[in-house]
């Protein structure tokens, strides 16, 4: 943001030599290091935190830790996956926490009519919800922040209406195989891993992913390039809604009932994970790998706080999470700025 008009008149020093990096960009060694720090930062921090935690108490680092970290958070990660796509286009989706809860209730309600319906109903409803939000953003020209904020309120309202203000609890039949989808650690983690792999392919290996990045980088240029900007944006909110619905369905399977109170504030956790993973909130750069690091990092920190600072409870978790997020976004902003200079 710093604009110094007086400097343009002064004689410029000879620019440092530039050579093509792996991406074909011309860059100086310094720029290359900054770019690497931006891309690999989350992974480095994650490894460092895990290594420090293991070194501090080697006997405690066990498979049960890993399974706690993976199993307890698996579904929530799907929200971060969808959010990565949305944020890459420069948008934001605040409705995912509500859609997550709505998906759980819909799954539990439909499960009495059969497991397939329990899977399909939340996916279809949440996809439609996301698509409407996407249409309002892409064709209505409305701010994503507000559209999805309305979505957050509306989806919660729909959820309350479905459950008679939370007084009706739908149970998943005890013998339905639907329950297995959420049971234990490895089934849900496997489902989430497959979806993340598909997300990675979509983002890194398809034209659609490139379009999303282009939209976030400069929407006007993307339009002039002839990219299907509006369609891509609708799809991105649809995708995010569908993933939130899927996460809700899995949570319904795990809990065995539709719980109306879950998911409050999860959109913020998802955004935090995506941002910590190095995806720029301004859009134009996002990686699925970074988001994986982001969600793992948040989960590991959460776990460590639970273990060592449990007497302070969730308050300590929040305080540390907030401070951590602040440090990460500050570091991102400073790296971004020093690269531009």
């Amino acid at each position: 943001m710093s604009v110094r008009t007086s400097e343009t008149a002064a004689p410029l020093p000879a620019p440092p030599p530039r050579r093509a990096g792996r991406d074909g960009l011309l860059e100086t060694p310094r720029e290359r290091w900054i770019r690497r720090a931006e891309r690999r930062g989350p992974l480095v921090v994650l490894v460092a935190v895990c290594a420090a935690a293991t070194a501090a108490s080697p006997s405690d680092a066990s498979w049960s830790d890993v399974s706690t970290i993976l199993g307890n958070n698996a579904f929530v990660w799907l929200l971060a996956l969808g959010m990565t796509f949305v944020i890459t286009t420069g948008g934001i989706d605040l409705s995912v926490g509500s859609l997550y809860a709505l998906g759980g209730v819909l799954a539990a309600r439909a499960s009495s009519s059969g497991p397939w319906l329990a899977i399909l109903l939340p996916l279809v409803v949440c996809a439609a919800w996301g698509a409407v939000q996407g249409l309002l953003v892409a064709y209505g020209g409305m701010a994503p922040f507000i559209v999805t904020l309305a979505g957050l309120l509306g989806a919660r309202g729909l959820l309350q209406a479905l459950t008679n203000q939370g007084s009706t609890t739908y149970l998943v039949p005890a013998h339905s195989w639907f329950r297995h989808l959420g049971a234990g650690t490895w089934v849900p983690v496997g489902i989430v891993a497959v979806l993340f792999a598909l997300g990675w392919i979509l983002m890194e290996r398809t034209g659609y992913g490139a379009t999303l990045t282009a939209i976030g980088g400069n929407q006007d240029s993307a339009v002039l390039l002839g990219l299907p900007v509006a369609r891509a944006k609708v799809l991105v909110y649809l995708l995010s809604g569908t993933l939130a619905g899927a996460a809700g369905a899995l949570a319904g399977a795990r809990l065995g009932s539709g719980v109306t109170t879950i998911g409050v504030g999860y959109e913020l956790t998802a955004i935090a994970a995506v941002v910590i993973g190095g995806t720029l909130l301004t859009g134009g750069y996002g990686t699925i790998g970074g988001t994986v690091c982001g969600v793992l990092l948040l989960a590991v920190i959460h776990h460590l706080i639970d273990r060592y600072l449990s007497q302070y409870g969730s308050a300590m978790t929040d305080a540390v999470n907030g401070a951590f997020l602040a440090v990460v976004v500050l570091a991102q902003a400073l790296l971004e700025r020093s690269r531009r200079q």
């Binding site: 209505g140 904020l149 509306g154 997020l325 902003a333």
Partner: protein, 323 residues
């Protein structure tokens, strides 16, 4: 502003003009219609006691929304106000032993400090307002709970309870405070250099920089003001409820405040602040939910109606024309 200068004669121009008028005066019309409908449905609606209750409910939201309007005017957003309310509230029982004035002063100071941190991240580090204030929002509530313990603590100080419960000339003291704050903010936006700079920055930050405006200072000040107003709202909420509850007070207040600002006609894209519209927007949202609740509508209906209203307001106030 610009739309009033260029008035094409074709139908599209007329449509633009209607939308422009709707954006500017729609909230007042909506408020009038709402009050008329509510009075028709329920004769008690216009009673003094009902209005007193509504003003007690609306005053803290108005304060928070005023600060939010300033922030949104600079093309920012402040998600940390709800957590700032909790922070300011939780300091009150800790320091009430030193008397009400030091406790309130400390609460306001904490609000200013919270705003300063957010504002510095936005202005000096160039962090996006949403993220900067999001990290504060997560962190500050944690800090508030750490300071006070997660459970609610009673506050019995007479001065603070007076702030939240007393009526002055038949009108809640809280409403007077909100009215005074409205006056100060309206004056600041319309008549002071700071107000003009704020609007200019929201309109075009780069041009403001090139014109030599103190962009960073103005941005930081705006977030500090938002923090102080939120802290003031926190003090009033403590007075009204006679307790400090860091886990629940101010929850979702940032969303209500943003809604009030947007419904009031301030565009999210900055460059314009509608102070009176913001107050009308806050009153409208408060009265709308009150009317629904009084007629035994379930909370789900209230939430869905609120969502539809937000969408309508944003559709009317969205950026129009070529970009």
């Amino acid at each position: 502003m610009t739309a009033a200068v260029i008035e094409p004669a074709d139908g599209a121009g007329a449509r633009e003009r209607i939308l422009d008028l709707a954006q500017r005066y729609g909230v007042y019309a909506a408020l009038a219609v709402l009050i008329a409908v509510a009075t028709a449905l329920d004769s008690d609606f216009m009673s003094v006691s009902n209005w007193r209750v509504q003003l007690f409910q609306a005053a803290p939201i108005v304060l928070v929304a005023l600060g939010m309007a300033l922030v949104i005017g600079t093309e920012g957003v402040d998600l940390s106000v709800g957590a700032t309310i909790a922070l300011a509230a939780s300091i009150i029982p800790l320091y009430i032993g030193y008397g009400p004035v030091p406790a309130i002063a400390l609460a306001l100071l904490l609000g200013a400090a919270a705003g300063l941190v957010g504002g510095a991240m936005v202005a000096f580090a160039g962090v996006q307002p949403i993220v900067a204030t999001l990290s504060l929002m997560i962190g500050l509530r944690g800090v508030a709970e750490l300071m006070n313990g997660a459970a609610a603590k009673p506050v019995a100080d007479a001065t603070i309870l007076d702030l939240g419960e007393r009526n002055l000339a038949g009108v809640p003291l809280m409403a007077w405070i909100a009215l005074a704050a409205t006056g100060v903010v309206a004056y600041t936006v319309r008549r002071t250099t700071f107000g003009r700079q704020l609007v200019a920055i929201g309109d075009n930050k780069r041009a403001s920089l090139l014109a030599g405006l103190p962009v960073r200072r103005v941005l930081v000040t705006v977030y500090v003001l938002s923090g102080v107003l939120a802290a003031l709202a926190g003090v009033l909420i403590v007075g009204h409820g006679a307790e400090a509850d860091p886990a629940n007070q101010g929850l979702n207040m940032e969303l209500s405040a943003i809604t009030a600002v947007v419904v009031g006609g301030t565009p999210l894209s900055g460059g314009r602040v509608r102070v009176l519209g913001t107050v009308a927007g806050a009153l409208f949202m408060q009265l709308a939910s009150a009317v629904l609740i009084q007629h035994n509508a379930p909370t789900s209906t209230t939430q869905i109606v609120e969502a539809v209203l937000i969408c309508l307001a944003v559709y009317v106030s969205r950026e129009r024309g070529t970009r």
